[in-house]
């Protein structure tokens, strides 16, 4: 069978080679997500149990939470789910370029969500004086949302590695000889770019928040974070260099199941946040 004919017969929802008819990677991911449901179920229950029986003189969540920021985070995570779904559709059609752009956008939205969470946690600790150990609300809240944040961070790392994987040279490509070192450098550059950007953006936000005027805050930001700005710019330059056309790649619709499995994980992170947003944040306001 020619490769073109093989491509035409790919059924992304059915694998005749397995006894269940479901690709093994997908089945594994669904089983994992089912178990992760129970994990988050226990954490959400713990938070709700203590919120239903708050200690006397405890912190008031309405004075601490910021519904505007949380709503923005929720919107961002929903949009990241859209981009993830589009990435899966793109690779199922064999459109590698579109898949890469969708993956990068998903990573971008994921980093915005993480940035919002870092900002929120910093506000809670430094301004609202709620820490993980000084109140029951803080303990259950930080444990639950922090665990979710760890899931998002793992998802961003996985997305980044999949993006880099999409550049793996095909057989016969002269770049294949050094593909591993090249891929590792590419992944390292992407992670440095993401972390440096997170640091720079958060520093800018905090500098502008704490300064009396915009000029003073911006000046302080440039002075204190110049090194990170340079690192971020260099890393972005490196990413552009790594993404240049380098011949045929070993990444096509045959890899759709890998992207789809990762997409399932990412969407799961989104649905957990849908529940957390209602159970932890919105219910406090009614």
């Amino acid at each position: 069978m020619s490769s073109q004919a093989a491509t035409l017969t790919i059924d992304h929802h059915h694998d005749p080679s397995t006894s269940t008819g479901i690709p093994n990677k997908k089945l594994l991911m669904w089983a994992f997500l089912a178990s992760d449901c129970m994990f988050f179920g226990a954490l959400i229950s713990t938070h709700l149990v203590y919120r239903l029986h708050p200690p006397a003189g405890g912190l008031d969540p309405k004075q601490i939470f910021s519904p505007e920021l949380t709503s923005f985070s929720t919107f961002i995570l929903l949009m990241s789910s859209l981009m993830m779904a589009l990435a899966v559709t793109a690779i199922q059609k064999g459109n590698v370029k579109s898949c890469r752009w969708s993956l990068l956008t998903t990573i971008f939205f994921g980093m915005i969500f993480l940035g919002c969470q870092v900002f929120e946690f910093t506000e809670f600790v430094e301004v609202k004086h709620m820490t993980i150990s000084n109140s029951l609300l803080g303990t259950t809240f930080f444990t639950l949302t922090g665990t979710h944040g760890c899931h998002v961070a793992i998802g961003v790392l996985w997305l980044s590695l999949m993006y880099v994987r999409s550049f793996k040279p095909a057989a016969g490509n002269p770049w294949q000889k050094s593909w591993l070192s090249h891929q590792l450098l590419h992944a390292g550059t992407l992670i440095v770019a993401l972390l440096a950007t997170l640091k720079v953006v958060l520093s800018l936000v905090f500098a502008l928040r704490d300064a009396a005027t915009f000029a003073a805050g911006f000046g302080h930001f440039i002075a204190s974070d110049f090194l990170f700005i340079v690192i971020a710019l260099l890393a972005y330059g490196g990413l552009v260099w790594f993404a240049r056309p380098r011949g045929a790649v070993q990444f096509d619709e045959m890899n759709a199941i890998d992207v789809e499995s990762m997409g399932l994980y990412w969407h799961f992170v989104d649905i957990v946040w849908i529940v957390i947003f209602t159970a932890v944040y919105l219910l406090e306001y009614i």
Binding site: H13, I22, M38, L52, S81, L82, L86, I271, F277
Partner: protein, 113 residues
Amino acid sequence: MSDAPTTGMSAYDSHGHEVSKFQIYVQIAMLLAVITGIEIVCVYLPFARSLLFSALVFFSAVKFLFVIFFFMHLRWDKPFCTILFFIGLTLAGGTMWALLTLFSATASRPLTM
């Protein structure tokens, strides 16, 4: 091989017209964003707590189901994936219900002092 609506990169509407997944996904994402906006407005409305609570749970469930059935492809996948995931979901929901019920009993209230 499965039939066309479940295998290709497109779905079919009630009139048999091909609808691209791109359009479906964008429409669902917009719907989810609108529902999120409604949820936020809801909490500031002067209605009974029970009504608002029911509305929020309903909206949350709708968003949850849209994501798992469309974005996570359960609508197009084999039913076994749905069954597997709902086993975990049912166990998680049962655990939550049991914990909330147990700790609502007077004799079992958690020590919060």
